[in-house]
Homo-oligomer: 339 residues x 4
């Protein structure tokens, strides 16, 4: 094999550490050689824990290093667009956590910078790389269930994040549903034209007081004529609930939740099993490895990334449309937002 | 035990024969003593097959018979409202197949006649009496899963009915979804306030040419703040697909389809089981017995029927609202229709 | 259709009433016209409840009636063999509940009487007519899973019968396992050659004190080379546990338990469902109808019965072999017993 | 944290590479610093692939290195006992793949050497560390299902190994069932007293010609009075079939197979899912990490290993008893073999 590609990690928080661990421990053809975090201690800890050579505070040191082939952006959301622009200007390939930004202008500037520089940009929609959703995509793209007619995406968190987070999250549609918007496009293989949002505050009144929602049913009309619905809740007490199902002209496909074990216990009280995996890190652990491997492959072989810049933009459009639909209680075409 | 109550059956078609068989063979405290059908041969065959004493052409003979305690109306839909009025005037208790009528004025006249006569009227929403949906209702009414937040009702036929039927069916919302509208109210234990319909013709263009739809996602906003969605398709190739799930503040409940057997076969090609029950008569066989037993109980013991006249009216309002929502592509409040 | 055949029911206890109800309410081409029970009140109640014309104490009145085509023997086990002989002599076809007898000589005399008279004899191994086990048999006979290699039969009661019953039951192998011995032969489509029994008293010491066992694993070697194991317990606290699985050269098939509903409830404590059907009457309700319909068909069309006299004899041989294997702690060939 | 412990790996074949990868990539407190293989190229490749510093041919270099804290023995089975003796004499802690040996005398000498040296010895029964079987053990040890009565262990390979391997494998009971013997003891938490084996050649006649068997049902009588059965086949065409179930006085517990995805596809032909995981490396991938972590913990903290030398000896006794039972067609007490 040829030399592994050299990565610079920008942001050593929770998700940054996940990528660091996956790259250092599970991948042969890539390695993190520099990690930057505004909190230099965090950068240092990450470097120590996962065998990264250098830790710095200023991410420009990464961008300026000729040894670096690509960057992995895991910093705060509001810094993504700017760092993408800087990295593109520095000629580095880019893996960026979702969302690029909440502002379409900022996104478009970032995508333009990427296009101009001719570097690769992959957005971190890891769920596409989960074996279960990939199986659904396969069924749809191979025609195993014929033409798609109806789609359900169930996506519920075990519990709401802290209120402080909610307040800066961009709202449920840009923070939580954005993953499901990506999933809808990915699975269906075409774009959504119109969105209608029914939503409510049923989990925690404080979320409502903060101007956000915690429960939603979002109807999607796809370009291919199919219909879909996304079901979101900030709290499913039994755990992380992540399922999809699709009805097609020749059949249907559905996925179940994942469990820590496959044991069933029967007693005089009932037949039961343990709760599904509760935490997204447990549920999607392999998908993070798979998405990074795909990025590294694309960089090494100069092939297209599987989740490009436009895939980062459209879900933000959808999130804005979903909110407008809720605010005005009417179906909203994506064209209204995207224009 | 006291004497069984005497029933007159009006209409000896498919569903009429189901009720005749159930009453004659599975119930001790009621019996059909007269069956009427405009097709007198059909009435005769029904009488012969299930041991009914008399068969006639004119249902007025039933209404005029002092021996009859109650009537079971299984005639064509357009005759329901008038026969209800006649039966009420004759002082007979009434079991009537759904829908009462597609016209709210006709429904209101029928309900007024029933109220004036002080007789009982039960509408044939049999699915409420299915053990699976009853279990969901129990979970909701007992608080087993807390306050309801989100509901999914999946209701798909194995294939569309003949086009000739479609044309006089009243449309998918009054013909098919009406059962699901009833289910939504029954399970949630409260009314729907607003409906938004996304629908399409994806199964058969001829259905569209006839002015109807074959695929729909109908969003419901309930009075209690909960949200729901009904998923309808005229064709699920794998069979009759009838499931519900509800997320509540303290948990969730969901039902699966029913199968002709519980065997799983594993071969080198995959792990499979036979198709779910394909026909609504097989799927809901017990519910027909249970609903009639409930009606007979109510008549014998002079207690309220479990599915009253208003339960026949509201789903029609919902069906009309669903269609208007589709036609105008906007959420429609039930108050718009019902007023 | 031709006239229904006329049945005489001998024994109006629990199982007799099941057959009476099934015949009278669910079958068109047969009817019970006479019921006999040594307890004449029981015979009378049965006749009243299910519309049987005559009730008598002495079953000879049935055997002597020229109107009777066939008898259904549901009396106490120790009377079966003799009544079979009498019925055969009277030229009546015979449906007899299992077991024919615990004594092979008595069985052989009964079978000889049947052979001499040329009447039909069907034994009440109802489980063969359960849709689930029938599906397994179909998989094996059609070659869907290739040649059978390994079989598991799980057969557990929700709780032990009263001790008084245990004492006269013939022991677990002749009372409970006998059904599983029949199932093994039926599913495999060939005979067992050798049996090894491991058994214990783990549920209730009083069962042991009565000389019986309550827990067993019985290894079977079939003529076709396949191996099988029967798992019996007198108490599975979660309910009636009735499953089979077979591994074949081209795949496997397994059945699950049956449940009163298909709802799954997820709460913060776990994912659960209600208990499986608890009572054999609920679990096997349809199989009783199916077996009687098969008997009636055989009589009406003069075709072979699906469960003949030899099918009543062999499981008794197996039960005796199983006990001897336990007593002597060694594998026992059926040829030792049958000879 | 303190310094990681230093491991020497003896044997760089398939299982040796699994341990190398797990230790180097997933563990922080241990590292392989030396790898030995009689095939020096294999040792070199292993070292290169997983970042091991030194690769040698002669394992004595490992035993003689003062830097080495413990050895991981993954060499050919016939070398295990001798290397255990040597490693013990060298004062190294030992992790050894199963089986220690097929000869009880050799095993006893190895265990004596270990005892004399006072080093730790852990045997590689990795399945104990699988989350599913661990959950069953937890149910049994916590009393969640009461006292155990009946146990089934289903353990089937997707296909037989090459005939050349079969010939030197020690036979199905020492090669394949040995894992299930360990599982039986582990789950039940007590010893087996007596074994009865029914076995056959049904998969491949050449296996029979080689003096071995490919299909078996092995009945176990446990010291606590419970009964169990192990079901082995060398070929389940649908994949690696690894399940257990236990009936207890207060309930039952059972495990299902693991699948590459949780998708269910319904078409007009049936309801199906993809095959279970086919290969033991996929099925048990986490258990290998967990067992090594447990060994490292025991060495670092000087606590008892979870699977000791006696746990390596008893399954060999059981394998010998199983074979004798088959050869003599009688139940065999372990005391006969162990003495």
């Amino acid at each position: 094999m040829s030399t592994p590609i050299n990565l610079g990690l920008i942001g050593a928080g929770r998700i940054g550490r996940v990528h660091a661990e996956n790259i250092q421990r599970r991948m042969k053809d890539a390695r993190v050689i520099l990690v930057a975090d505004v909190n230099e201690d965090a950068a240092r800890r990450c470097a120590d824990d996962f065998g990264v050579k250098y830790a710095v505070q200023d991410h420009h040191l990464i961008l300026g290093s000729p040894a670096i082939d690509a960057v992995v952006i895991c910093s705060a959301t509001h810094t993504h667009a700017q760092i993408i622009c800087e990295a593109a200007a520095a000629g580095k390939h880019i893996f960026c956590e979702k969302p690029i930004d909440f502002n379409l202008t900022a996104i478009d500037e970032a995508l333009a910078a990427v296009a101009k520089a001719g570097v690769k940009l992959q957005i971190g929609f890891n769920r596409r790389f989960d074996a279960n959703f990939a199986r659904v995509r396969q069924a749809l793209s191979s025609g195993e269930i014929g033409q798609p007619h109806l789609m359900h995406i169930i996506s519920r968190d075990p519990g709401p994040p802290p209120l402080d987070y909610i307040k800066v999250s961009g709202g449920i549609f840009l923070d939580m549903t954005i993953h499901d918007f990506d999933m809808a496009r990915f699975l269906m293989g075409c774009e959504v034209e119109e969105i209608f949002t029914a939503a409510a505050v049923l989990v925690d009144r404080q979320i409502g007081a903060a101007g956000d929602l915690d429960t939603a049913l979002i109807t999607l009309k796809f370009e291919n004529g199919a219909l879909g619905v996304i079901d979101n809740s900030r709290r499913a007490v039994y755990g992380y609930d992540q399922r999809v199902e699709v009805l097609g002209s020749d059949g249907g496909i559905s996925t179940a939740n994942l469990y820590p074990n496959c044991a069933t216990i029967s007693t005089a009280e009932g037949v039961r099993r343990d709760l599904p995996l509760h935490f997204f890190m447990d549920r999607y652990i392999d998908s993070y490895v798979n998405e990074m491997a795909a990025f590294v492959d694309a960089v090494r072989n100069d092939t297209p990334v599987p989740v490009g810049g436009i895939d980062g933009r459209v879900p933000v459009v959808m999130g804005l449309a979903a909110r407008r639909s809720y605010d005005e209680n009417r179906p909203v075409k994506l064209a209204e937002i995207a224009a």
